[in-house]
Symmetry: C2
Subunit: 313 residues, 2 copies
């Protein structure tokens, strides 16, 4: 079964924790890419421990997104696929991809123009950074693998969608190993560096130019200059709730005589924002959500500040 071989999940370790702690019910929370492992893990726990298991059915986007409802229902919640700090009844279970990243990195070499390359990846490929280093050094590159800082950052070279602190600012460019444009796009915007993204699954390479992303954000900002009604989004997600920041934005809006409304949302989707019918939204939840929007204007707090400056002129 292909799914079993793509990921390494230490189910025996989980069973041992359950037995040692003697818990009477557990919850499982998995991100979309791992969701289908849920029933295999649930079955093992039911078979070996004979205790009830509840699987969180809704999507989950990081250690900032704990299913607090499920947490309150079970003795112990296992949160898979992200790194974080365990709490009394919450355990983070890291998951490693068993896919060899080497072919993707070989393909990436021809796109790397600079000498000093910061190499970063997400938690599931983190144990293959040494392999990446060997390949790139053979190609005469100077490799920088730095420990970042912040919640959920546990390894040198590890990045999150909202955290690119593992990228050494002295690098020429960044090699990201992983899937999708969510992470490399964030890195390019945060670090203002060229990012070469190598996908171990497809073995495809994508080059992300920070300039075009920055220009796109400026164009969106310019389009919001005459907006009338603003929605300030407060996240209901465990690690994204930031009432203080939302209140600061509401105050700045009031000071500028801008009509603004506070909105509580769990999943910040384009459909939900369209349905709310406001002109512009300011996002205090995950800073990377702004890139998911095509039909509505969603700005991050620093962009809203720029907008106020532009309106002042």
């Amino acid at each position: 079964m292909q799914q079993k071989t793509e990921f390494r999940i230490d189910i025996e370790g989980i069973i041992n924790i359950i037995r040692r702690r003697g818990v009477r019910s557990v919850g499982l929370q998995l991100p979309a890419g791992l969701m289908r492992q849920g029933r295999l893990i649930s079955k093992e726990i039911q078979n070996q421990c004979n205790i009830p298991v509840i699987i969180a059915g809704k999507g989950c986007y990081g250690s900032c997104d704990i299913d607090t409802e499920l947490l309150g229902m079970v003795d112990l919640l296992f949160h898979f696929g992200h790194s974080g700090s365990d709490r009394e009844n919450l355990i983070f279970v890291e998951v490693r991809s068993t896919l060899d990243v080497s072919p993707a990195i070989e393909s990436a070499i021809e796109y790397l123009e600079g000498d000093k390359i910061a190499v970063v990846t997400t938690i599931q490929h983190i144990d293959q950074l040494d392999r990446a280093k060997t390949i790139l050094e053979r190609a005469k590159k100077e490799i920088m693998i730095r420990m970042g800082s912040g919640d959920g950052i546990n390894y040198p070279g590890q990045v999150l969608g909202c955290n690119a602190s593992a990228v050494d600012p002295r690098c020429d460019e960044v090699l990201f190993i992983g899937t999708g444009l969510f992470h490399p796009g964030g890195i390019a915007l945060i670090c203002k560096k060229k990012v070469v993204a190598a996908d171990p699954y497809t073995e495809r390479v994508e080059v992300i130019d920070p300039e075009s992303l920055i220009r796109r954000r400026w164009a969106i900002l310019a389009g919001a200059i005459d907006a009338d009604v603003f929605g300030v989004i407060l996240s209901a997600k465990s690690g994204q709730y930031n009432k203080e920041l939302a209140d600061k934005i509401l105050k700045a809006a009031a000071d500028h005589k801008i009509e603004a409304h506070l909105i509580l949302l769990d999943e910040v989707t384009e459909d939900a924002l369209i349905n709310l019918g406001m002109d512009v939204y300011i996002n205090t939840a995950c800073p990377r959500l702004v890139d998911d929007m095509e039909q509505v204007t969603l700005l991050n707090p620093d962009e809203f500040k720029k907008l106020l400056d532009l309106r002042e002129r």
Copy 2:
């Protein structure tokens, strides 16, 4: 502004409640069709009472779907568009449509074949049932408008998506006044009667045949007969959570040696179920969700019981 004239919302009444109670923060929860009224109501409250307002941004499907997170954040939550029993910090605000239902009912007459017609509608048109009665009696129909029973049922002739108890079983057929197929489909399935649905917005009439709906459900049931892995859905919504029922289903599955997993979900969407990767789902949340699924098999508890019977044979 069209939106202002389509609904009658007693904003002054809301302001009076806020003043009388002296609350220091309020939340607003609105169903999708009323969501855009949120900012108008929020603005009035901010202007007249000068207290913070938080709008619930996620969809809401009935009095069974209170945003408990928002409820915990504010002194008083106003829930719009559904009827229900007020609690200490929760007030249900009914909303009436100002649209005249007469043209839709005139159009419906030619589709009514029987003599005894049960007339039902949703809360927003409830005050126009007398008008409907007059028109139908003029067309020589005997009209039955009965008080139903259950949570959220406050008026004679009122139905919910999950509650058609206002339909008198002695009627020949049912006239439903309202929008969409969600309610009339439910009525047809629950009462096993022909339902004529008259939409006051489009003035269109739709005839729902219970036989075809029942046949569809049987076909789905037959397709699930050899399924291996079952997911039992437990709702995280305030009024849809039914752990006892879910546990009963899990026990029945275990008794029949069927692999089953308990899943906690807030929004039960087709995407979420597809992603979970099980063969069949049993739904203990809103009983009407089963009709929203095209690519996955979702059964209500009574259908699961039938399935077990079929497998026994």
